[in-house]
C-alpha cells in the first residue's frame, strides 16, 4: 500500500482520515515496511468497515492484516447498540472462534527427542486431521444442544479434561448468551461427526520447544523457560461454524436494505444488534464459540491420552486458550465514559492487559497470554496483553503470520514431499494426510511472523514474552 495516503500517528500506527461515508478513521498498525507490503484491499476493507452504523472510535487493522471477506483479516471494530450499531456475520467470518491453545508439558526438549517420531505417529493416529476426518464422539441432538450451551465446560463435565483448564480459557470455557436453538438443523448435522477434529487448511497441532525468552518475569508467570516443551492446538468451530457463517451471511446481506443499511460490499453483511436477525445471529455465533471451545478441549484430552502413553512423565496443564474470529460484548471506556460495545475481531486476538478483571488471578498481574501461531515449520510466539492496547485497539493484537502468497502460487513453487524432507532435516517431524496440503501451507507462503510480532510489540498492542519452535507438526 502507498504510505503517502496515511497520516503517520507513530512509527507503527497509520491513519486514514474519514472521507466519504466513513464515520470514523481507519487505523492500521504495523511498521512502514509491513504496511507497504500489504495489499491495497486492506485499506479498502478497513475503510468500508468504517462506514458501518454505530462504529465507535476507529476501524482497526492489525500488523498481520490481509485481504479478507468484507472485513480485512486482522480487522477489529466495535459497535454501540445505543447508536444503531450492527453485528456482522462477515465481521466474524466462517470459522467462528478459530483459535489457539497452548499446553505445558513439564518436559524439556531432550526428554522427547528420542521418541519424537513415535509421538508424531501416535498424535496423528489419535487426533483426527484433514478433509473428511471424523471424531469418535458423535453427538445426538440433546447432547449437541448441551455442548452448544456449555462449551469447554460441557466437555470437562463429560470427562474431557479438568476444571482447572477452564480458568485458562476465555469466558472460563463457556460463552454466555448462546442460543442453541438459533443454530440450524443443517449446522447441527454438519457438526455431528466433527467433534474433536482439527480440520484442514492452516489448522495444526504442534509440539514445540521454547527457544527464546524476551521477558523473564512474565515467562515465569506463564510457566515458560528455555527448552521447555509445549503443545499448541490451532482449530475452530468446524462445520457448525462454517454453516452458521454461510447461512447468516446470506440472510444479513439480503436483509441489509430492509434495515436501512447501505453495504459498500455485500460481504460486510450485517444487521442492527437490536434486530431479530441480529439477536438470532448472536445466539448462534455464541453457540459456535462454545463449539470451538469444546472442540479444542476434546483435542486437549486426546493429546493428554497420547502423552500418557508415550511420555508418561508429562503433565499437560493449559497455559491459555484464545479465539480469533469472534464478536464479544465488552465494556470499554470511550472519552471517559464506560460503554457496552460489540467488539468484532476477525483474525485478531483479544489481549487484555494487566489487572483486567476477567483474567484468572494467577495471570492478572502479567496480562493475558496472547498466542501467535506461525506457519508450519516456523516459530510461533507468546506475548502478553498490555494496558495501552485498551486505548489503541479495544485490547486486541495480531493473530498470526498472514499469508503472503496464494495457495495457487504456493503449489507451483513447492512440492509437499520435498518440504516434509527439508523440515525433517531441520529436526521437525511433519505428519499430514495430504502432501498438496503441505505445499499450500509452505512456510515461505506466509509473511515472516517475527516481523509481525515485533511490530505488535513496538505498537504496544501486546508485549513479547517467548518464542517457540516446532518439533512435531500434525497438519490437517
Amino acid at each position: 500500500m502507498d504510505l503517502s495516503r496515511f497520516s503517520r500517528l507513530s512509527d507503527t500506527a497509520w491513519q486514514l482520515e474519514p472521507r466519504g461515508d466513513m464515520r470514523v478513521p481507519a487505523i492500521i498498525y504495523g511498521t512502514a515496511e509491513l504496511i507497504s507490503q500489504m495489499d491495497d484491499k486492506v485499506a479498502e476493507q478497513a475503510t468500508n468497515v468504517a462506514t458501518l452504523p454505530g462504529i465507535v472510535q476507529a476501524s482497526y487493522a492489525m500488523p498481520d492484516a490481509h485481504w479478507g471477506y468484507g472485513f480485512p483479516i486482522g480487522g477489529v471494530a466495535a459497535f454501540d447498540p445505543d447508536e444503531g450499531g450492527v453485528i456482522s456475520a462477515g465481521g466474524v467470518g466462517f470459522d467462528v472462534s478459530c483459535g489457539v491453545r497452548t499446553l505445558h508439558t513439564g518436559l524439556a526438549r531432550q526428554d522427547i527427542e528420542a521418541v519424537k517420531r513415535e509421538l508424531a505417529d501416535a498424535l496423528f493416529a489419535t487426533v483426527p486431521a484433514g478433509v473428511g476426518s471424523t471424531g469418535r464422539i458423535h453427538l445426538q441432538d440433546q447432547q449437541m444442544t448441551e455442548m452448544l450451551d456449555g462449551g469447554a465446560a460441557w466437555a470437562v463435565s463429560q470427562g474431557y479434561g479438568e476444571n482447572t483448564d477452564l480458568d485458562r480459557t476465555e469466558e472460563r470455557g463457556r460463552m454466555a448468551g448462546a442460543d442453541p436453538h438459533a443454530v440450524s438443523e443443517l449446522a447441527r448435522k454438519r457438526q455431528r461427526k466433527e467433534m474433536g477434529t482439527l480440520g484442514s487448511g492452516n489448522h495444526y497441532l504442534e509440539v514445540q520447544h521454547v527457544t527464546e525468552i524476551y521477558d523473564e518475569e512474565t515467562a515465569r508467570t506463564f510457566g515458560l523457560e528455555g527448552g521447555a516443551v509445549v503443545v499448541s492446538i490451532h482449530c475452530g468451530s468446524r462445520g457448525l461454524g462454517h454453516q452458521i457463517g454461510t447461512e447468516f451471511l446470506r440472510e444479513m446481506a439480503l436483509a441489509a436494505e430492509e434495515h436501512g443499511i447501505h453495504l459498500p460490499d455485500r460481504e460486510l453483511a450485517c444487521a442492527p444488534i437490536r434486530s431479530e436477525v441480529g439477536q438470532r445471529y448472536l445466539g448462534a455465533m455464541r453457540s459456535a464459540i462454545n463449539c470451538a471451545l469444546a472442540n479444542r478441549q476434546i483435542i486437549t484430552h486426546l493429546t493428554r491420552q497420547v502423552f500418557a502413553d508415550v511420555l508418561p512423565a508429562a503433565q499437560l496443564g493449559l497455559l491459555y486458550d484464545v479465539s480469533h474470529n469472534t464478536c464479544k460484548t465488552e465494556r470499554h471506556v470511550i472519552d471517559g465514559r464506560e460503554r457496552e460495545l460489540y467488539v468484532h475481531r476477525k483474525g485478531a486476538t483479544r489481549a487484555f492487559g494487566p489487572g483486567h478483571p476477567q483474567l484468572p488471578a494467577a495471570l492478572r498481574d502479567a496480562g493475558q497470554p496472547v498466542l501467535i501461531g506461525g506457519s508450519m515449520g516456523t516459530a510461533s510466539y507468546i506475548l502478553a496483553g498490555t494496558r495501552q492496547a485498551e486505548d489503541l485497539s479495544f485490547s486486541s493484537a495480531c493473530h498470526g503470520a498472514g499469508r503472503a502468497m496464494s495457495r495457487h502460487q504456493a503449489t507451483r513453487q513447492w512440492r509437499g514431499r520435498a518440504l516434509v524432507d527439508e523440515l525433517a532435516a531441520r529436526g521437525i517431524v511433519i505428519r499430514s494426510p495430504s502432501l498438496r496440503g503441505v505445499a499450500e501451507e509452505a512456510p515461505g507462503a506466509y509473511k515472516d511472523v517475527a516481523e509481525v510480532v515485533q511490530a505488535t510489540h513496538e505498537a504496544g498492542l501486546a508485549r513479547l514474552v517467548a518464542r517457540v519452535e516446532p518439533l512435531v507438526c500434525i497438519k490437517g
Binding site: 495489499d39 490481509h66 485481504w67 479478507g68 471477506y69 468484507g70 483479516i73 462477515g90 467470518g93 466462517f94 470459522d95 484433514g130 478433509v131 473428511g132 471424523t134 443443517l186 448435522k189 454438519r190 455431528r192 480440520g199 484442514s200 487448511g201 462445520g239 462454517h242 454453516q243 457463517g245 454461510t246 451471511l249 446470506r250 446481506a253 439480503l254 460490499d265 455485500r266 460481504e267 453483511a269 498472514g402 499469508r403 503472503a404 502468497m405 496464494s406 495457495r407 495457487h408 502460487q409 494426510p433 495430504s434 502432501l435 498438496r436 496440503g437 499450500e440 490437517g476
Partner: protein
C-alpha cells in the same frame, strides 16, 4: 433428471484465480447452467483431482434465489454441505435453472483419503468476487472466492 452422469467439464471451461488467503473458482459456459457446472468442477479441483473422482453416487441440490449470484452461492454451498456431511467428492454436474430456481445433480463418490489425497476442506463459498454475468462474447461466467 437422468440415470447416467453427464460428461466431465472440459479443462478450458474452468480455472482458479488467486486470493491471498484462499482460492477463487471460475467457470465458463455457453449458458448460465454450464458456467455453474464448470464453477462446481473448479471447486472440486481445489480439493482434489476431479478426474480421480468416480461418478457413482448422485445427489440433488435445490436452490432458490432471485439474484443469480445468490443462486451460485447457494448451489456451491449446497455442494459444500453434501461434501461435509456425507463425506463426498463430486466430479460431474448437471445444472438446470429456470427463473429463480435451480435444480442440479452432482455425481461423485465417498472420499478415499489415500486415493484422493484431499488437500483442503472448503468451509464455504463466499460473496467475495462473487460474479455471474454474460460476457461481451456471449459466454457466461460464474465465479467466487472459497473460504478454505
Amino acid at each position: 433428471m437422468s440415470a447416467t452422469p453427464p460428461r466431465p467439464v472440459p479443462a478450458e471451461r474452468w480455472e482458479h484465480f488467486p486470493h491471498v488467503a484462499d482460492m477463487g473458482v471460475r467457470g465458463f459456459g455457453s449458458t448460465l447452467d454450464e458456467a455453474f457446472a464448470a464453477a462446481a468442477h473448479a471447486m472440486t479441483a481445489v480439493i482434489t483431482d476431479p478426474d480421480a473422482v468416480r461418478p457413482e453416487i448422485r445427489v440433488e441440490i435445490h436452490a432458490q434465489a432471485a439474484d443469480p449470484e445468490i443462486l451460485l452461492y447457494d448451489f456451491l454451498n449446497g455442494l459444500v454441505y453434501e461434501m461435509a456431511v456425507n463425506g463426498l467428492l463430486f466430479s460431474r454436474f448437471r445444472v438446470r435453472s429456470e427463473g429463480d430456481r435451480l435444480l442440479a445433480e452432482a455425481w461423485g463418490e465417498k472420499t478415499d483419503v489415500a486415493r484422493h489425497q484431499p488437500c483442503v476442506e472448503v468451509k464455504g463459498a463466499t460473496f467475495t468476487q462473487l460474479d455471474v454475468r454474460r460476457e461481451d462474447d456471449g459466454r457466461w461466467l460464474a465465479q467466487c472466492v472459497l473460504d478454505i
